[in-house]
Subunit: 240 residues, 2 copies
DNA sequence: CGGAGTCTTCACCCTTTCTTCACAGTACTC
DNA sequence: GAGTACTGTGAAGAAAGGGTGAAGACTCCG
C-alpha cells in the first residue's frame, strides 16, 4: 500500500461543481484532476489509471453510464472504484450504475462533507492509502476570528492578542487544529502532556473554563459536547 | 461483487413450504437449494457458503436457533445473512434469533411476495455493505437524508443539524449502521451502555420517542417492529 | 527561602439527561 | 367487537455531567 496521495479523476461538465469537488479532494489530501467530457475521461483513465473516479451521470457527449460500462469492460480499468454523481430524479440511472459496478453515488446537490466521506470510504474499501490531511501548519487561521501561531506561541482572537498559559495554549491549538471534531478529555490531556499521563479528567474542565474566560467574545468557539468532550466550533468553515 | 445468481439455502423440513420458497426464489432469479434438517444444513453451508440462508426455526433434529448460533460462531459462516421463518407464537424465538445475529424474519403463514421482498433486501444489503459485522465508518450516510458523523458527534437530518443527547445519538447510530436490520431492545441497550446492563427495556421506548420527535420529518425512519424491537427504515423498502 | 504564576484536585451547585411509572393509544387475536 | 398484548408518551424523581471558586502543590526565579 503506497503512501502517496490518492489520485482522483473528476468527470464533470459543470466547471463550478468540478472545482468544488477538486477543492475538497485536495484539501482531504488527494491529488485531483478534472475532465469535462466522457470521451476524454476514458482516454485519461486508460492512460493514468487513477485510484478513484468521480463520475457525473449527465455529460455532454458520452453518457456517464456509458463511461461506466466501458470502464468495467476494460481489463485494466475494471477495478478502479467509481463514485457517481447524479441529479435528483435520476434514480433509475443510479441503480443502473450500481449494477454496472459503480461503488457508490451521491445526489446533487450534495454537501462536500458527504461527498468526501464517500470518497474516503470507497478508497478505504479499495485498499488505497490516502494520506490524512497533515496538520503540520505552524499557524491556524479561522475566518479572521482566531489566529494560533505556533512559532510565536501566541494567540490572537478577534484582532487582540491573548495571553494564555502553556496548557491553555496547547488545548486551544489541539481543538482548533480540527475544527468540528470532538475530543475526549483523555485525548486533550494526552495532547498536552504525554500519552500515558494519569490525570483527573476534570482538570480539563478547569482549563476550558479559564480558556473561555480569556477568549472573551469567542468563548462560544469552545463547545461542550455533553458526555463526550469538547470541540472547536466550526463556525463558518465550508459552505454547503 | 459477483454477477452470478445469488445462492440461497432453504432450511425447512416441511417439503411443501420448502418448495414454495424454492419456486419463488428461482423465479426471482436466485439459485435455490433446500435441505430438511439442521445438521445437514450446517454441513452444506460450510461447504457451499451460500449468499443467504432461509432458516425455519422448527426443525426435526437441530433447532433453528441452534443452527443460527453455530453459524455465527464459525469464522467463515458468520457473515452469511439469515432470514428466519417462524410459526406464529414463536415470537420469543424470533427475538432470540435476532439477538444471535439473524437479520430478518417472516412469520408463517407468509405471503411469497413478502418473503421475497425480504430476501431481496437482505441480499442487497449484504452485497453493498460486505463488511462482516460492524460498520467501521466514521460517518453514516443515507441518501442525503441523514448523516451521522462520529468524529464531529453530530447528526444532520435533511440538511439540518439536530441536537441529540448521548443516548439518542448512540441509538440512532446503532440502528442506522445497519439500515433495515431489526434490533431488539436488549441489543439497543447493550449497544449504548455495556453489554450486561440491567435496564427496563421500556426505557428504550422513551428514547425512541424523543429521537423521533427530534428527527422531525425523518421520524418515520425509525420503525417499530412489533413484538421484536426497532429498525432504521431504508426508505425505499418493499411494498406488501 | 519567599513569591508569582501555573497546574491539579476537591467540593458544591446547577442543568441536562436518564430511568421508571402510569396511563393512554393501537395493533392483533379470537 | 371485545380482550389482550404491545407501544407511545407525559411526568417526576434519580443520576450524571459540567461550570466554577478555592485551596494546596509544584515550579521557576530571584
Amino acid at each position: 500500500m503506497s503512501n502517496a496521495k490518492a489520485q482522483v479523476l473528476i468527470v464533470e461538465d459543470e466547471p463550478e461543481i468540478a472545482e468544488l469537488i477538486e477543492f475538497h479532494a485536495e484539501r482531504a489530501g488527494m491529488r485531483a484532476r478534472k475532465v469535462h467530457s466522457g470521451r476524454i475521461a476514458i482516454d485519461v483513465i486508460k492512460r493514468e489509471k487513477p485510484d478513484l473516479i468521480v463520475l457525473d451521470l449527465m455529460l455532454p457527449d458520452l453518457d456517464g453510464l456509458e463511461v461506466c460500462r466501458k470502464l468495467k469492460q476494460g481489463e485494466d480499468t475494471r477495478s478502479i472504484p467509481i463514485v457517481m454523481v447524479s441529479a435528483k430524479g435520476e434514480e433509475s440511472d443510479v441503480v443502473a450504475g450500481i449494477e454496472l459496478g459503480a461503488d457508490d453515488y451521491v445526489t446533487k446537490p450534495f454537501s462536500p462533507r458527504v461527498l468526501m466521506a464517500r470518497l474516503r470510504n470507497v478508497l478505504r474499501r479499495a485498499g488505497v492509502a490516502n494520506d490524512p490531511p497533515p496538520t503540520t501548519d505552524r499557524m491556524i487561521l479561522l475566518e479572521g476570528k482566531l489566529v494560533v501561531d505556533l512559532d510565536r506561541h501566541e494567540v490572537t482572537a478577534a484582532g487582540k492578542k491573548i495571553d494564555l498559559t502553556l496548557t491553555e495554549f496547547g488545548i486551544l491549538h489541539y481543538l482548533a487544529s480540527r475544527p468540528g471534531f470532538v475530543r475526549t478529555r483523555d485525548q486533550i490531556i494526552g495532547s498536552v502532556h504525554g500519552k500515558n499521563t494519569v490525570l483527573s479528567s476534570r482538570t480539563v474542565d478547569v482549563h476550558i473554563t479559564a480558556l473561555r474566560r480569556k477568549l472573551g467574545a469567542l468563548a462560544d468557539c469552545v463547545e461542550t459536547v455533553r458526555g463526550v468532550g469538547y470541540r472547536f466550533s466550526e463556525g463558518a468553515t465550508e459552505a454547503e
